[in-house]
């Protein structure tokens, strides 16, 4: 999958402003960015749903503008909303899509059985989808994208609105299909999702690539995780700041000091014993991932959605 200088303007406002992307076959690329960064626009162009205003893009070896029907035979799209039909059963949904992907009645039925099995939905196959949980629904949605074993899968915020357990289920399925050789372009607002699934992450800001690299590369750029210490009195704040070292940020209203750390657990041990040695009794010590806002601030130097 390849994109060069993609441009798309909605009512005079650029949604994509010279967007470049290269995803080697069989890998997962995470497209990370806040709402309005252009993630969905990029996916819709690559999935042939949206015409581009400038630049060129190739998916599975075909040009998205000139060979759209050929692209459609190779890709599957999983949008933000669930497109499975509530009134039909899980099996009927899959058979319907199978028929729309031009399998014969027998093939469609057989493929539906296979997919139900693969996605762990065999027990629920003949129940109506409206009785499914959020995660089952997503899995069925994913299953319906795999009818023809697409070589490229677009996942547009696949776990937005799901609880952690359901997110885990979806991640497991995505990992499984990737292991079978599918190329995936994943958009997400969650750093940990990109971290879990993607081989490479592209951070999108106002329609342009702001940064890219492997999750590890990006994390080291950002200083990785943060450690956060909450104390009881403001007198203890400077002590903690000295323990955490240069670069520590003090939030005096919240009695909180935080700093970037590279080595999660080792840092926790070091800080805990150092604090004990200084006689500081911390209210709370926690390790946490940087939020998307912090990633943004670090990479682009401005807050999400606000262009400096």
């Amino acid at each position: 999958m390849l994109a060069e200088g993609l441009r798309k303007t909605f009512a005079g406002k650029p949604a994509l402003d010279g967007f470049d992307l290269a995803v080697p076959a069989g890998t997962v690329c995470g497209l990370l960015g806040p709402n309005g960064a252009g993630k969905t626009t990029a996916v819709r162009i690559l999935a042939t749903l949206l015409r581009l205003d400038g630049g060129r893009a190739e998916v599975a070896g075909f040009d998205v503008a000139r060979e759209a029907p050929k692209v459609r035979g190779q890709v599957a799209l999983n949008g933000q909303q669930s497109t499975v039909d509530d009134v039909l059963t899980g099996r009927e949904n899959l058979v319907m899509w199978g028929r729309l992907y031009h399998l014969s009645r027998r093939q469609a039925a057989a493929r539906a059985d296979e997919l139900l099995e693969q996605f762990g939905l065999t027990d629920a196959a003949d129940r109506r989808v409206k009785h499914y949980s959020g995660g089952m629904r997503r899995r069925l949605d994913l299953a319906s994208s795999f009818i023809t074993r697409p070589s490229v899968l677009f996942l547009d915020e696949p776990t937005t609105g799901l609880d952690p357990r359901n997110r885990g289920e979806v991640w497991r399925e995505v990992k499984r299909v990737v292991a079978e050789g599918t190329t995936v372009l994943l958009t997400t607002q969650y750093l940990d999702e990109a971290d879990q699934l993607a081989d490479r992450i592209v951070v999108l800001d106002s329609g342009r690539v702001a940064a890219q690299g492997t999750p590890d590369e990006l994390k080291s750029k950002l200083g990785g995780d943060r450690i956060e210490v909450v104390v009881r009195t403001s007198e203890e704040l400077p002590v903690v700041r000295d323990v955490l070292g240069p670069g520590a940020e003090v939030d005096s209203d919240g009695f909180r000091v935080s700093a970037a750390v590279a080595d999660r657990v080792a840092a926790l041990t070091r800080v805990t014993s150092a604090l004990a040695a200084c006689g500081v009794e911390a209210e709370d010590i926690a390790l946490r991932r940087p939020t998307l806002d912090e990633v943004f601030l670090a990479i682009t130097g401005h807050k999400a959605g606000v262009r400096a």
């Binding site: 042939t48 949206l50 459609r72 799209l77 992907y101």
Partner: protein, 259 residues
């Protein structure tokens, strides 16, 4: 081509299954015309005059058929806008299925649904004293004209459905209701004030209803205006105009989803 047929059927089948599994909606759709027939036929009926004389129930039934058909545009509109809103339309577009299939499937499902409504309404009419007097072939022709109008309205519904959100689609009956009343459906236009009379006579729905009255041999046919005197011709032409206008508009709108 073969795939266009299969795809249409697969899409239509989805909607038909919906109706079978959620019959509440079908009943709700049927309840309104049946109750209207009873209210207008049996409650107001005795106070109603048919211009030129004749039994009001005989006059009413073709009008009710017409209103039911016209309301169908609301259901097409709602289904299309819901599919678009839920991303189903995008899935269809990103799949290799034939694009005719999406629309043809919609038409098939809607025509089946409307035929059922006409049938139930006709049975209800027969039970309270409506009948046709021009022979079965003419009666069937009249029903065919209603379905021809319905087919034309599918295109109107598709175009509007791609334009508005489901919430707006649900409000469509607020417009449909007066549009089906400013017509010859319930009252002869001859009994309305001058300007409204002109609107009612030229209302496309009036042409189909008047043509059906003529074919059924029901009262209330005629009038001085050109539209009233050429109802049969207009009953064929108006829907053709709708198709000619809204078919390309829908196709453009469908393509525009990608701009």
């Amino acid at each position: 081509m073969r795939y266009a047929v299969i795809d249409s059927w697969v899409v239509a089948r989805r909607d038909l299954i919906h109706w079978l599994r959620e019959p509440v909606r079908v009943f709700a759709n049927l309840a309104y015309p049946i109750i209207s027939v009873l209210i207008f036929g049996l409650v107001f009926g005795s106070a109603m005059n048919v211009f030129g004389g004749g039994d009001y129930i005989e006059f009413l039934l073709p009008g009710m058929f017409g209103q039911t058909i016209a309301f169908g545009v609301g259901s097409t509109l709602l289904m299309v806008s819901m599919d678009a809103e839920r991303g189903v339309t995008d899935r269809f577009r990103a799949s290799p299925m034939s694009q005719t299939g999406v629309v043809a499937g919609r038409s098939i499902a809607d025509l089946v649904n409307s035929s059922l409504e006409l049938l139930v309404l006709a049975l209800c009419g027969l039970a309270i004293g409506w009948s046709w007097h021009g022979g079965l072939p003419n009666a069937l022709l009249a029903f065919a004209l209603f379905l021809w109008l319905r087919f034309a309205l599918v295109w109107v519904g598709i175009y509007l459905g791609l334009l508005v959100k489901p919430a707006a689609a649900q409000a469509s009956w607020m417009f449909l209701f007066p549009l089906t009343m400013f017509a010859n459906t319930f009252v002869s236009p001859e009994l309305m004030p001058g300007w409204l009379r002109a609107v009612s006579e030229w209302n496309p729905l009036s042409s189909t209803v008047a043509a059906a009255r003529e074919l059924f041999g029901n009262p209330g046919v005629g009038g001085d205006s050109w539209a009233a005197q050429h109802s049969l011709l207009l009953a064929v032409l108006w829907p053709a105009v709708f198709v000619a206008v809204f078919w390309p508009l829908s196709v453009l709108r469908y393509r525009d989803l990608s701009s």
